[in-house]
Every structure is written in C-alpha cells, then in structure tokens.
C-alpha cells in the first residue's frame, strides 16, 4: 500500500458570502489534512467546526475560497480539485470519488436496487451483474428484500441511509467521503457497515469520514484530524439578532 496520500488538503478555507444579509460567514479556516489509500481519516471537532464543509468542499459541492485540494489519480497524476474543470470533477465523481451523505435524492420510479447499482451502470457494468451486486450489498446491510424493487422515496430515514450507504460502498471509489453514515442505524447494521468499510480499506480505498459517535472513530479511524471553529464564527453562533 502506497504511502503517498490520495488526497492532500492544503490550507483550505471556505467563507460563505450571503449577499441578502450582507454577511460573510467563515466556515473552514486553514484546514490541512491527508487521506491515504487503505486508511480512514476521521474528522472530529465541535459543531460549527466546519467538518461537513470540508467534505462538501472536497466534493466541490462548495466552492473553495482558498487552498488546494490535491487528488492523486490512479496513474499517479495530480489534480487540484479546487481549480479543476467541471467536466473533470463530474468524471472523477463518476469513477473515483464517492460521497455518502445523510440525504438521498432519487427519482420516484427508480427501484432501490437500481438506485444502488446506478454508479455501476454509469461505468458500463452490465445491468444484470450490477443488480446482482446491488442485491448482495443490500442483503448485507439488512434492508428487507421486499423493499428492493420499490423506490426509496417513501423509505424511513434508516432505510434510506442504508440505500445511500449501499450505493456509496458498492461503487468502491478510490476516495470515499462519509458524512455521518450510520447516524440512524441500529447497532447490528452499524456493525455491518464497519465490516464493509474495513473491506473497502483492504481494497485500497482512502476514506475521510465524520462519525456521530466517538466509539466509531475509535473502531475505524487510522488517523484523526481535529477541526476548530474558524475565528469569527462565535459571533454567528451567539446569534446576536440584528
């Protein structure tokens, strides 16, 4: 396993500019961290420290204000995600970089197994094969079989999260971002998730994760990065209403 980081976040900062309120809102300030292949880096810190911001920043859902997001591609090249072309980002999302959030947007008519198999479809995996793999991972995450053929639109929070995880894990990306992936799961399913994450690590995936429980950090993290709220944030959270 390589000692070269798959992702280097260098001096990353993100400040939101809210035009309507005439405010700027610092969310991440001078973040530095590395993610290595086959290892899990956990982000910890108090609420408001900008943990989710960093993940969304790496995924380019948030535009960085400054800093570099250096991603090492499979052939050893380096891309600064912060300045990469949109098409490059879309291509990397399709093949390299996965993100499991607490939320799931799906089409009303798509069956759960197709939602899970979608990343494989997009890479051109034969549909039957992709669906078989999707069913396999749904089984492992304890999603009742009767739900596989229906759309996750009507699922409960825990069920949706399992679908979301199944999709993110099945894609076996090179870099996986996890934002509280087990927040609404029962202990038994959480154990399964831990197992699956361990498998991904074995397969060389580098992970950057936020967990809601310190126990999970203990079980899964190879490295921990602690974030502090950026200067100026306090004002916002003390909530002095104008």
């Amino acid at each position: 396993m390589s000692d070269q980081p798959i992702l280097e976040v260098r001096d990353y900062s993100k400040t939101f500019v809210l035009h309507e309120q005439g405010k700027t809102l610092p969310s991440s300030s001078h973040v530095n961290l590395n993610v290595y292949p086959g290892r899990l880096t956990a982000l910890i810190g108090p609420t408001g420290a900008g943990k989710s911001t960093v993940l969304k920043g790496i995924y380019l859902t948030y535009l960085p204000s400054s800093g570099q997001l250096l991603y090492r591609t499979a052939n050893g090249g380096r891309v600064d995600l912060a300045t990469a072309d949109e098409h490059q980002i879309l291509a990397l999302r399709q093949r390299d970089i996965g993100f499991v959030t607490q939320f799931l947007h799906t089409l009303p008519r798509q069956s759960t197994e197709d939602v899970v198999a979608m990343p494989l479809f997009q890479r051109g995996v034969e549909r039957g094969t992709a669906r078989a793999q999707a069913r396999d991972i749904l089984q492992r995450l304890n999603l009742p079989e009767r739900l596989w053929g229906v759309s996750p639109a009507t699922f409960s929070g825990g069920e949706r999260q399992r679908v979301n995880l199944a999709r993110g894990l099945l894609a076996k990306p090179r870099l996986l971002l996890l934002d509280e992936p087990t927040a609404s799961l029962d202990p038994k399913t959480t154990d399964r998730v831990v197992e699956l994450i361990a498998e991904l690590k074995q397969g060389g995936t580098g992970l950057l994760a936020i967990f809601h429980s310190p126990a999970l950090v203990e079980r899964l993290a190879d490295a921990v990065v602690e974030l502090a709220p950026p200067p100026g944030t306090e004002h916002f959270f003390e909530g002095t209403t104008p």
Binding site: F16, T61, L63, H87, Q88, H105, P108
Partner: protein
Amino acid sequence: MVNDNISTPTLDKVLEVRGLGKVYGNGCPHCFDLTGPEHDTNICPRCGSVVAAHNLSFDLCRGEILGIMGESGSGKSTAVKALYFDEAPTCGTAVFYDQGNAYDLYALNAAQQRQLRNQRFGMVYQNPVLGLNFNVSAGGNIAERLLMSNLSHYGEIRQRATTLLRRTEVLTQRMDELPKNFSGGMQQRVQIAKALATNPPLLLLDEVTTGLDLSVQAAILDLIMEIQQELGTAMIAVTHDLGVIRLLAGRTLVMKYGRVIESGLTDQILEDPQHAYTQRLVASAL
C-alpha cells in the same frame, strides 16, 4: 504542474458554444453596457432593443445534461432556439461535433441546417403545438421525422414508431389517433418520441414539464433520465424549476436579463450559490 496527466475518461464534446448573443431590434453601441442584471433590465434605454442573450458560452459533452435556469425573460430559451435554428443568433458561434465531423452551425447553409435539425437534433417544446403536427396522428408525427431522414419503408416506419411510443409509454393502440385527443403529459411523451425518432446525439428540452401535474412531471423527468442513461444523449434542459434542475442537470447555467450570472456543478449552484440573485432564488425555493 498540477491538473495535467489526468486520467479522466476522454470526454466526447458534443457542442461548443462561444459568445452567442441575440438582440431584438436595431441595437446600438450601448446595448451591452446599459443592460444586464446590474441594470435590472434587458431593454437598452438608448435604442429600445431587447438584449435577449449576450455572450453565452458553454460546452456540452456526450451523455451530459446541462441545465439553463432563469425566470421568464432571462434569455434561457435563446440558446436552444438558436441551436435548433428556430431563431438565428445575432452573434456568436456554435460548433457541433458528430461522427468525426465538426459543424460550425451558423456557417452552414439552410439545407445543411435543416438536415442537422431533422436528423441529429431533437427538440421538445413546452407547448406541444410547436413540436407536434396536430392534424397528423401520433404515429404520423414520428413518421414525419423518419421520412425527413429519408427512411421510406412504410413497414419499417410503423415498426420504429411503435417502438418509440412504447419506449415513451404511449399506448401503441392509440398511435393512430390525433394528438389533440391526448392529455398534456401524453402529448409531451409523443413529442419526446418524435424528438428521439432519429436517435439524435443532442436533445433540447425547453420547459418540458411546465404546466403538467406533479405526478406527470415526475414521470416525464424519469423518462428523460432513463433515456439519457440508456442512449448517452447529450441534453440541454431549459427551465425555471429548481426541482427539474436538481433532478436532471449535472451542470447548470443561471441566467438573468440575458446574461449568465453563474455557472457550475448543479449541487454547487444549489448549495453554495455565489450570486445574490441565485442565493435568493435558491432560498425561496427550499
């Protein structure tokens, strides 16, 4: 040096639009300086010309859906109208890449433009009256596009029309009925079938779900996504509906008063909008 040597799959560019603009009226040297979002108008105060769109540039790749979002009068339909040759742009270029050829769209003669429009582009209008011939059966509408691309075998045309209508979930028993007897959602399906008749690599969608019931909207959007995944069709979806953008588009342009005020990955536009207008738009929709 970063960003070179990247191992992303070769992106097949379908379309390259540069500096596209459309002015209604005679225009004057001040038109572009005195209009736009910062002037809160697209009507030139000097000469009264309407700057429908100015300096529109974007790329579109195979299998990609680009969203163009804006309110009415923002100029969001200008690009698709110009690309489908419904209206000639005032300036700008658009290059269409197809089967190893590059077509400089506005340098082509009328016959070449018509050929691309009939065979390589598909258009679905908000108003089915624009996209369908209401005096001709649903199947006949599809036949028209096939006939335009020089398919002249009746049996084959029937077969293709049946397949397309089945694909877009129109009851094939109704294929010989006039579209005016159909519901709005069904008319859109027939339009989509017609647009897809020649397997075009580029599909233009102009407010395709506007005015339809929510459940019908969802089904149409589903259909469009399925088609994109199955056929790898590149699409431009013009809409004022954030929901449509969220579901369909990978990248989005936000337009106001004829200008692109913001563009980016759709999730970024929706979660971290940069422009005051987009922030307002997103905030009011969520």
